[in-house]
């Protein structure tokens, strides 16, 4: 284990900022304690105590990003399209992610960096992910929305992190997870330490055994889902706040008459428009249909297809739901049969 003193953190980040953008959780000005991950500049105050409203998934899946740009040109009587792809190559260090968020990166890797037969990996994700270094802050406390303990390793999860900081008196113990993390912890701001790791938070536990099958069994009981969603507003907050949600929309924007680009942006499965077809048919017309797909995707389909649960227990969807919905109640009801 390595140790870094509290006062050396700004120094560490300052050094990292020379070669990469550094992101850290910060309170948004003019708001009531809204914490977001944002680019950190020297002197900026880092908020490690509060829960961020959004995860930092935008570092690998920006809210909107360009896929390619195009330009039409005349060719005799007709026209031809010239297309230029984008290859993001950014170096970002993120400080202060929690284990749940870091784990979500590993979950996303299973989809976007998959090389299984018949699937493509995502060059944009890959470009950003490979340039990302994750310094995780281990949780020694939690609130009642947290439920990472429902998963195998709970707050001790290391997947997705490069280096994990454990808060101890006067600073942090630093446990490297990856090669990147090892290199990072080797610099002179760290020193070796034999201190014990602090006890990590024990969060709420939701029983997930058998949920994969149970959800499928409950799937057609639409009245159950209607009851479960009767106060759901069908907004997209839970999807956008979720570190593992990754669905996106693709749209084109023109820049003048002959040029423009194709973009992708976050999309949320709770939106009516998400599956609305141009014919007017919508296979998921009610919040109930969308919500059951949402949970089934997270706890049944994705585990089946990619071997990972599409949830890491961060609790944002519970903490921030404008309708005060707690999906753990629904999971419990499904488990109860």
């Amino acid at each position: 284990m390595r140790f870094i003193a509290e006062e050396n953190i700004p120094r560490l980040l300052g050094r990292l900022a020379a070669n990469a953008a550094v992101w850290a959780p910060q309170v948004v000005k003019d708001t009531v304690n809204t914490v977001l991950f944002a680019p950190w500049r020297a002197g900026g105050e880092i908020e490690t105590g509060a829960y961020s409203a959004l995860s930092a998934k935008e570092l690998v899946l920006p809210a909107t990003e360009r896929l390619f740009s195009y330009r039409y040109r005349r060719a005799g009587e007709g026209e031809r399209i010239g297309i230029k792809g984008c290859a993001p190559q950014e170096r970002v260090v993120i400080f202060g992610m929690r284990a749940c968020d870091a784990k979500a990166l590993a979950v996303l890797d299973a989809l976007f960096l998959s090389r299984s037969a018949g699937s493509y990996n995502d060059p944009y994700y890959q470009g950003r992910r490979s340039g990302l270094t994750v310094i995780t802050l281990a949780c020694t406390s939690c609130d009642s929305a947290c439920f990472c303990s429902s998963f195998e390793k709970g707050a001790a999860e290391t997947a997705g992190s490069d280096l994990i900081f454990y808060p101890v008196s006067g600073g942090y113990l630093a446990g490297p997870v990856s090669e990147k993390g090892k290199e990072l912890a080797a610099v002179d701001l760290f020193q070796d330490s034999s201190q014990e790791k602090p006890g990590l938070a024990k969060t709420a536990k939701v029983e997930l055994v058998g949920i994969q099958q149970r959800l499928l069994e409950r799937f057609d009981d639409i009245d159950f889902w209607r009851l479960a969603t009767e106060v759901c507003l069908s907004c997209g907050y839970c999807s956008y706040a979720c570190p593992a949600c990754h669905c996106f929309n693709i749209f084109d924007e023109t820049d003048g008459d002959r040029a423009g680009g194709r973009y992708r942006c976050w999309d949320a499965c709770m939106f009516y428009a998400y599956t609305l077809e141009s014919s007017g048919h919508n296979p998921r017309p009610e919040a109930a249909h969308r919500y059951r797909n949402r949970l089934a995707h997270k706890f049944s389909y994705f585990p089946l297809n990619r071997g990972e649960i599409l949830c890491t227990g961060c609790g944002r969807c519970i903490r921030g739901c404008p309708a005060g919905l707690d999906f753990r109640d629904v999971i419990r009801a499904v488990s109860a049969g």
């Binding site: 039409y72 026209e79 820049d255 003048g256 008459d257 002959r258």
Partner: protein, 651 residues
């Protein structure tokens, strides 16, 4: 595939806009298969070139950069139609009125024109083929105003076999023309030419004449105007009254003589004039003794036909019309408040030309003898002053009355004929005698009748020893002039008649700054009002003389006949439509629709959605701006089209 045609309009456009360059810029836009500059797009060869391009280059959308769409949109839509393309796949870009004519720098104007054309191309991409619906048109016309314009229009329409209702607010038709003595430049008797037409109106089987009536309220639109006509109570049963005028003779209550422009006296119950049509008495309550608290029942007792009915009430009749002719004529400028140095109306011998006209008339209060109002003496020195309340910025009336110069000349001639030893003087600004034989006529007033023309304005009129001293400037000589006159006649200008503004609002006719009704286009739609199905005849549209009035009335009648002859009208395809599957049924559209064109419908159980009645919708789009999710949209002006235009205008 879009075709773009840039009209040079001779040099009207090409003088300041390089149309070739504009076409080139258009050709660089996506989807533009053809872009060319055309000398006159609206000409036959121009239209033929457009049609050829549509066929050969398989165009499905056309942008024409030319004059205002208000000018030629209809022309080019027809051209598209003939070439086999839906006429609404056209976008006209105004590079003349809004560009070449208002800019002088060729580069700037060219760049702007290219920008406007780009905006048009962006918009035309969202055009959809539209087709007109049909609605039945009521085969009946309304003519409002019973002067010579209304009479002529009514007779012409009726002659085509279309029923007409002629509404006149006063007790007789004939209007101002009936009050004139003689007409210029022929000096034929006004009554002699007008009265037969008035009688024909009364007798025509296709004309329903409603005097003492006004338009109260109007609903509906071209093809089906529902008009409430108020027949004002006159206390005389029109059907019974024979026009014997006994009531008028015996009536004890004096009243002003409107027909004689206040020059004589009338009675509370009277027939407007001996030539009135219909020849029916009417009672003016405000002057009647019975209605001012007395017990007088003289007229009722004496009426041999028993036509007097004091209890008569206003009656509102609703009739439907396919088309409307406004022929509300003109009034005279009230000079008394505006020209303080002329005595504010306090000198009895300063009169208006209409009053003088009544003094000249054999049917007038003096039996055709010129007697001045103050003492009944025959005037020897008569001064005419032109342009009172016209061509006079100082009283806010820049407009030319267009008849003053001629009627003064006429009155001077008639003065000489009535009183051979009289001398007439005319103060004038400019002599305007543009009509056929007018100049010769005015010249005759000087040469043969010895009228003295003095170019200049009169500064002051004041009484001195039984005469009126007229002080003015002769601007040709540059001298002060002072004339001792027995009578001064003011050639007052023409104004829109009382109530024309109210009527205009009811029919959605817009008015110009002088209060005259605005024609659809000063050149190409001189008789059409902007409201569909409404036409203008005579001086309501602007001051004009009798021949011009009669011509315009005939033209308006021809338009009405053309409109109603087919029995049905094409409804505009540019109406609103609701995408019912997306409508939440909040009916904000219905709240704002001025035409009641939105109704509710149940497209599915438990859902209510709006529906547009296309025959009532007139395409204003107020609903479209009121609908939050934009599910009601106005064809031809959809959000998509306007957004495309906004974006293209700014990039």
């Amino acid at each position: 595939m879009i075709g773009v045609f840039i009209c040079q309009c001779g040099t009207n456009i090409s003088a300041t806009v390089d149309t070739g360059k504009v076409a080139q810029a258009a050709a660089a836009m996506r989807g533009v298969a053809d872009a060319e500059s055309i000398q006159y797009a609206c000409s036959d060869p121009g239209q033929a070139a457009i049609a050829a391009a549509i066929r050969h280059k398989r165009l499905d959308r056309v942008v024409i950069g030319a004059c205002s769409p208000r000018m030629h949109e209809a022309t080019f839509r027809r051209a598209l139609d003939r070439a086999g393309l839906n006429p609404f796949m056209l976008e006209m870009v105004n590079i003349r009125e809004h560009c070449s004519w208002i800019h002088s720098d060729v580069d700037q104007a060219t760049e702007k024109a290219a920008g406007l054309v780009r905006k048009g191309i962006a918009r035309v991409r969202h055009h959809l083929p539209l087709s007109a619906g049909k609605t039945a048109a009521v085969r009946r016309a309304l003519v409002v105003g019973g002067g010579i314009a209304g009479i002529q229009a009514a007779l012409d329409i009726a002659a085509a076999g279309i029923p007409v209702t002629l509404v006149e607010k006063s007790p007789t038709i004939g209007g101002n023309m009936a009050r004139l003595d003689k007409t210029f430049p022929t000096l034929d008797c006004s009554s002699c030419i007008l009265t037969p037409l008035m009688v024909e109106v009364k007798q025509h089987e296709n004309i329903e004449l409603m005097v003492n009536s006004e338009v109260d309220d109007v609903h509906g639109h071209v093809g089906n105007f529902e008009v409430d006509i108020r027949r004002k109570a006159t206390c005389v049963d029109e059907k019974k009254c024979s026009g014997c005028m006994i009531c008028q003779e015996k009536c004890p209550a004096k009243a002003p003589d409107d027909f004689n422009a206040g020059m004589g006296q009338s009675k509370a119950i009277s027939v407007a004039s001996p030539q009135a049509v219909p020849l029916v008495a009417s009672l003016r309550k405000e002057h009647c003794r019975r209605f001012s608290g007395g017990k007088c029942r003289v007229c009722q007792k004496l009426c041999p036909a028993g036509a007097v009915d004091y209890g008569q009430q206003d009656e509102v009749v609703r009739q439907s019309f396919g088309a409307v002719v406004a022929a509300t004529g003109y009034g005279f400028y009230d000079w008394t408040g505006a020209y303080p140095t002329y005595g504010m109306g306090l000198y009895p011998d300063v009169i208006t030309s209409l009053q003088y006209e009544r003094l000249l008339s054999a049917s007038g209060p003096t039996g055709g003898h010129i007697r001045r109002p103050s003492d009944g003496a025959e005037p020897r020195q008569v001064v005419f002053i032109s342009c009172i309340g016209s061509r006079d910025e100082s009283v806010g009336r820049p407009q030319c009355c267009s008849v003053g110069c001629m009627y003064i000349a006429k009155q001077a001639i008639l003065t000489k004929e009535h009183i051979p030893d009289s001398q007439s003087y005319i103060f004038y600004i400019d002599m305007r005698a543009g009509g056929k034989n007018y100049e010769e006529f005015a010249r005759r007033a000087q040469t043969r009748y010895g009228t003295l023309y003095i170019r200049g304005r009169v500064g002051k009129i004041f009484p001195r020893w039984g005469k009126l001293v007229v002080m003015g400037t002769d601007t040709l000589v540059g001298d002060q002039v002072e004339i001792e006159a027995d009578l001064v006649v003011l050639a007052t200008g023409l104004t829109a008649s009382d109530g024309a503004g109210g009527l205009a609002r009811k029919f959605n006719i817009s008015c110009d700054e002088n209060g005259f009704m605005a024609e659809g286009h000063p050149k190409l739609k001189p008789v059409e009002a902007e409201a569909a199905g409404v036409f203008l005849a005579g001086a309501c549209q602007g001051p004009k003389d009798i021949p011009a009035t009669v011509a315009q009335a005939g033209a308006a009648a021809a338009k009405v006949i053309g409109l109603l002859s087919r029995g049905e009208l094409e409804t505009s395809p540019m109406v609103a439509a609701v995408s019912q599957s997306k409508c939440s049924g909040c009916f904000k559209c219905r709240d704002v629709c001025p035409f009641g064109a939105i109704e509710d419908e149940r497209p599915a159980a438990g859902r209510t959605a709006a529906r547009v009645l296309a025959s009532l919708c007139r395409g204003c789009g107020i609903c479209s701006a009121a609908c939050p999710p934009g599910v009601i949209s106005l064809s031809g002006y959809t959000d998509k089209q306007l957004l495309a235009e906004v974006v293209a205008a700014l990039r």
